[in-house]
């Protein structure tokens, strides 16, 4: 309830003063990105389309009407439209994903979004290993060279980071 209340206050603040849109962006970035990347599969395309979604949301923030539906659902509605346009442009009509009902928030998006937030809160060295490994897709050897640590130490950081993430995700859902 209070989360919805905060959501509403933030949307209203951004409608009065667009410079407050930054709060909404930070809170919803991971959701929108996950929604998009799960559907296009390609990191660069996902970045371009995520940028389109937020640009459109900022341009249209005044049109958002509060009807008790989370702001994130409105954003995902924009994302579904942006994706449909993308498929049309790239001639992949068959792949158009059915837009989600605005009221439902797919659980896997929420889970991934939460996981990505938890990565941000890992100790710095662990966070760097996870980012280099999964975002930059570097090998353990490359990461070890860049961080000036042994390969064994990097693997250990990787395991520690993943165990922390698992425990925190289980804690959040347990």
């Amino acid at each position: 309830m209070s989360e919805q209340h905060d959501d509403r206050l933030q949307v209203e603040a951004a409608q009065r003063d667009p410079s407050r849109f930054a709060d909404l962006y930070r809170q919803n970035f991971y959701r929108v990105y996950t929604y998009v990347v799960c559907r296009v599969g390609d990191r660069h395309q996902a970045e371009d389309l995520t940028a389109d979604v937020f640009r459109e949301a900022l341009a249209g923030i005044q049109k958002f009407e509060w009807r008790g539906v989370p702001f994130a659902a409105w954003l995902l509605g924009i994302a579904a439209r942006v994706l449909a346009d993308h498929w049309k442009r790239s001639g992949r009509e068959a792949g158009i994903p059915a837009p989600e009902s605005a009221a439902t928030m797919p659980a896997e998006i929420e889970q991934s979004a939460m996981l990505f937030q938890l990565v941000d809160r890992l100790p710095e060295a662990q966070c760097r290993v996870i980012r280099m490994r999964f975002v930059e897709q570097k090998s353990i050897r490359e990461i070890a060279q860049e961080m000036g640590r042994s390969e064994g130490a990097v693997k250990q950081l990787q395991l520690r980071a993943m165990e922390t993430l698992r425990a925190q995700m289980e804690g959040a859902h347990g």
């Binding site: 940028a51 990787q158 395991l159 698992r166």
Partner: protein, 329 residues
């Protein structure tokens, strides 16, 4: 030793996953749970993209701010206040910033004829301007910056490696520690005379509510006098209560445009003047209003060969304020 086996098994499974190989079934429930996390992490977004898009949307939203919501200096709107650090050896300072704060250099332009330059850097979402020029030796203008980072202790260590020291004697509370105002923070100076308050907010976001990674500071000899000047010259607003101890201002906040600045009365005897770029729609209006509020004119408004119209004014405490507008935009 079981741990050692798990380290290797996990790494092999991740390597295979990233190479696109099908995931073999594993009977080990612990490993399977970790690989479930790894599967999701394959879609982890690039944090540099997130920052870049955030900055782009921030700039776009600034353009959409209704005039009545912006702080105005007469008819002129001040959009941004960017610390402008002037040092003799700019290259070394930039190295320090890159090493310590993972700063990114965005642009660099030559300045003067002695190999000097002005560089634009970003720490997180926040801009800094660095002028490096041998000719300013002895007249450097450092900065006092409150930088919000994800891991105060790690950044503190990197600052030490890069030659910074804590501001006071060791073990006097300047090292990283949890502070009652809701941050873990360390207080340091670098070899260029800059003050760094390296902080990590408690709670879900390590940055404060305004979302900025760098909050500029001012250290005047008499904060109330400076606040009064900033209100009259730039339409600044004081935010929140002042915290005073024994007639000395320990903490005050002012907002110019959308930027929050913090201020404390300087402890040292000498002046600690800083420099700031004020991006505005109307350089002339800002200049005239500041001069009317008692600022000293250092350079009246003029178009510059690098494509900006700028004017430079100085307040009572020696801080220089450079009102600027890009002529192309």
């Amino acid at each position: 030793m079981a741990d050692l086996a798990l380290i290797e098994q996990l790494d092999q499974a991740i390597t295979a996953m990233l190479a696109g190989a099908a995931q073999p079934e594993t009977a080990d429930a612990g490993l399977a749970a970790l690989m479930d996390i790894a599967g999701k992490l394959r879609d982890l977004p690039d944090d540099r993209f997130m920052e870049r898009l955030g900055a782009e949307l921030g700039a776009e939203s600034e353009r959409r701010v209704p005039m009545s919501r912006s702080t105005t200096a007469g008819p002129a709107v001040i959009h941004a206040v960017t610390p402008f650090i002037t040092v003799a050896d700019g290259e070394k300072l930039i190295e320090f910033l890159k090493h310590t704060f993972r700063a990114e250099e965005m642009a660099r332009h030559p300045h003067g004829h002695g190999g000097g330059f002005v560089a634009a850097l970003k720490i997180g979402d926040s801009d800094l301007l660095i002028m490096g020029d041998e000719s300013v030796r002895g007249q450097e203008r450092p900065a006092a910056l409150h930088v919000y980072v994800k891991d105060c202790d790690a950044v503190y260590q990197r600052a030490l490696e890069a030659g910074a020291t804590v501001v006071g004697p060791a073990d006097q509370g300047f090292e990283p520690a949890d502070r009652p105002w809701g941050e873990r923070a360390a207080f340091m100076t670098d070899s260029f005379g800059n003050h760094w308050n390296i902080a990590t907010r408690f709670g879900p976001n390590y940055v404060p509510e305004d979302g900025r990674h760098v909050r500029p500071g001012l250290l005047p000899r008499n904060a109330p006098v400076l606040i009064d000047f900033l209100e009259r010259a730039f339409g600044a607003e004081e935010v929140g209560p002042r915290h005073e101890v024994g007639g000395r201002v320990e903490h005050a906040f002012v907002r110019i445009g959308e930027v929050l600045l913090e201020m404390a009365d300087a402890v040292e005897e000498g002046l600690r003047p800083f420099g700031f770029y004020l991006y505005t729609d109307d350089v002339d209006a800002v200049y005239h209003r500041a001069v009317a509020a008692g600022a000293v004119s250092i350079a009246p408004p003029a178009d510059q060969p690098f494509g900006d119209r700028i004017a430079v004014i100085q307040d009572t405490f020696g801080n220089q304020w450079i009102a600027a507008k890009n002529l192309g935009g």
